[in-house]
């Protein structure tokens, strides 16, 4: 169960993040989760949205460089040690996390964690075997 994530190249120039977000707003796209990775020279805006294909088109039409890739979204108990228990599973099996970010929603009383793993396939299998709850595209739409 993986979900599509959109990455947007953001040059280190005034107003670029705002412009990207503005593009989404104009196209009536809802952002489910968002994070920014940055270096001293530029950033990468990562987004989980309500409609991936439409988002890519809107951003590309506005001149942004966009890429789609897969991430895993896991529900974790919204309590101390919640995230730790999930990471523990991966750690014990030596599956590296490339990056991770979290968000909370109103509809489930759990936190939701977005992860990109070095080995996506085995990571997914492993988490499922340990009964972790992975969200689907459909779940994301309903959040």
């Amino acid at each position: 169960m993986s979900v599509e994530q959109i990455s947007v190249f953001i040059e280190n120039k005034e107003g670029r993040v705002k412009k990207a977000i503005n593009t989404l707003a104009k196209s009536d796209i809802n952002i489910r989760a968002l994070s920014v990775a940055d270096s001293t020279k530029y950033g990468i805006l990562r987004l989980i949205v309500s409609d991936t294909e439409r988002t890519i088109k809107a951003l590309e039409d506005d001149g942004f460089l966009v890429k789609k890739n897969e991430v895993i979204i896991v529900k974790v108990p919204d309590e101390p040690n919640g995230l730790n228990s999930v990471l523990e599973i991966l750690d014990q099996n030596k599956i590296n996390v490339e990056y991770i970010y979290a968000f909370i929603t109103h509809k489930v009383d759990q936190a939701v964690v977005v992860m990109r793993l070095e080995d996506m396939e085995n990571g997914k299998k492993l988490l499922k075997s340990k009964n972790a709850e992975l969200l689907t595209e459909e779940d994301i739409k309903n959040l």
């Binding site: 190249f9 990468i44 001149g63 460089l65 490339e98």
Partner: protein
């Protein structure tokens, strides 16, 4: 086609006699009519009587751009104002522009040499030339325009800029030849692709590209993306404008119309004249100009002259593609670098557009070079470390070419300047004062 067989395929001896006769005439007239040349020649202690062979041209002093600038605006003119019918100037990017005045005969010569250029670029009378060089004081637009008239082809005087209109004309008129800067041609190709068009939708067969330096790799790119034969044109306002030299489809150098312009190659540091096959600074003397004749003008362009007859049949002396300028040569930590070397390296990497910018700085005591390159879908990743490894890979390819480590920065597609005139590729922020 060979536009003027008699002139373009002339035997060596006949040509040299013609050149010598014309050279003497030019020196005589400039001495008589242009005070600043008279002063220069008197100071050097030479007169027209000292010119007995072509080699004697070496006795004459050079003309620098600064000489022409100090004669601004009209002190270089060798004819009364009555006879001047057109004026052009250089861009003046490095100071006051230089001014060139043309008589009716000068315009006719200009048309003649650009007509030759059109012939070399596969031109036929029925061709439609989309001339996207700027019309105005810049020589690009009107130079090609005069040539197209002389040649008898149809010129579409669209001038520079307005890419939307350029594309509309390309599609609706089905232009067959295009003339512009190579970087603008690339931008047009990109814009066509963005609108969903490719070479099959247009009828271009050749491109006459000049006014800035470009590389063989860029030629491949233009030929592939526009479906054309991309050829190099050379010229400069101080001499006449575009058409001084042009490549034929053999692509082995640009044919200099040496019955009108006498070329030499010199060592730019010592001024010593070099042989055919040796690389150095191009020096040009006008042999037939009336309005603004120029003697031994130092072009600052670096090239090599070739004497052998071309397989196209022309005997005009050929010059290699310009590989640099004595004044945009960058000296980085003591190493000489030309922007064209960096361009060459970039074109070796898949997914890189040839739009780039070189920024030189000296943060402490050491020169630093940053090369900005536009990222593309192939180069973009959702992870910073991947992006950094792409930058490092590009830096290594550049290092192989120039021998220096540079800092590569990926920037957003379309964010680096594309030029309609001359692309600004180098920003030197070092302060040498």
């Amino acid at each position: 086609m060979v536009w003027n067989k008699e002139a373009e395929c002339m035997e060596k001896e006949e040509k040299e006699n013609l050149q010598l006769k014309r050279l003497k005439n030019t020196i005589k007239k400039t001495y008589e009519r242009v005070p600043f040349y008279r002063k220069k020649l008197d100071e050097a202690g030479v007169s027209v009587e000292d010119i007995k062979t072509l080699k004697d041209i070496e006795k004459l002093p050079f003309t620098e751009k600064s000489d022409l600038r100090s004669a601004y605006p009209f002190k270089t003119f060798a004819v009364p104002d009555d006879e001047i019918v057109e004026i052009h100037t250089s861009s003046g990017t490095t100071g006051k522009p230089t001014v060139s005045g043309y008589t009716k005969k000068d315009i006719d010569i200009w048309g003649e040499i650009t007509a030759r250029a059109i012939g070399m670029a596969l031109g036929e009378k029925h061709d439609k030339i989309q001339n996207c060089y700027g019309y105005g004081l810049f020589t690009g637009g009107l130079g090609i325009h005069h040539g197209a008239h002389k040649f008898g082809a149809t010129v579409i005087p669209i001038s520079a800029g307005n890419t939307k209109k350029q594309i509309e004309i390309l599609l609706d008129f089905q232009s067959t030849i295009i003339s512009c800067t190579p970087s603008y041609a690339l931008y047009l190709a990109e814009s066509l692709e963005n609108e969903g068009y490719g070479p099959e939708d247009i009828s271009l067969k050749s491109g006459i590209f000049g006014a800035e330096m470009w590389t063989e790799e860029m030629r491949d790119e233009l030929e592939k993306r526009l479906g054309i034969t991309a050829l190099n044109i050379y010229g400069l306002t101080e001499i006449i404008g575009p058409g001084v030299a042009q490549e034929c489809p053999e692509k082995n150098g640009l044919h200099i119309s040496d019955d009108h312009f006498y070329p030499e190659i010199i060592n730019s540091e010592t001024g010593e004249v070099l042989d055919y096959g040796e690389k150095g600074e191009l020096v040009l003397t006008t042999l037939t100009r009336e309005g603004s004749p120029v003697i031994r003008f130092r072009t600052k362009d670096i090239t090599t002259l070739r004497e052998e007859k071309c397989s196209c049949g022309r005997t005009l002396v050929r010059m290699d593609r310009i590989t640099g300028r004595t004044d945009d040569m960058l000296k980085i930590r003591g190493v000489l670098i030309f922007p064209s070397q960096i361009e060459k390296a970039l074109l070796k990497i898949d997914g890189i557009s040839p739009n780039y910018q070189i920024i030189v700085s000296r943060p402490e005591y050491l020169d630093e070079v940053e090369v900005k390159v536009e990222a593309s879908r192939e180069l973009f990743s959702d992870e910073i470390k991947e992006m950094e490894s792409v930058e490092n890979k590009i830096a290594s390819v550049i290092k192989k070419e120039i021998g220096l480590r540079v800092e590569v920065t990926l920037s957003e597609p379309g964010s680096l300047p594309r030029s309609e005139g001359k692309a600004i590729r180098v920003i030197d922020n070092r302060n040498f004062e």
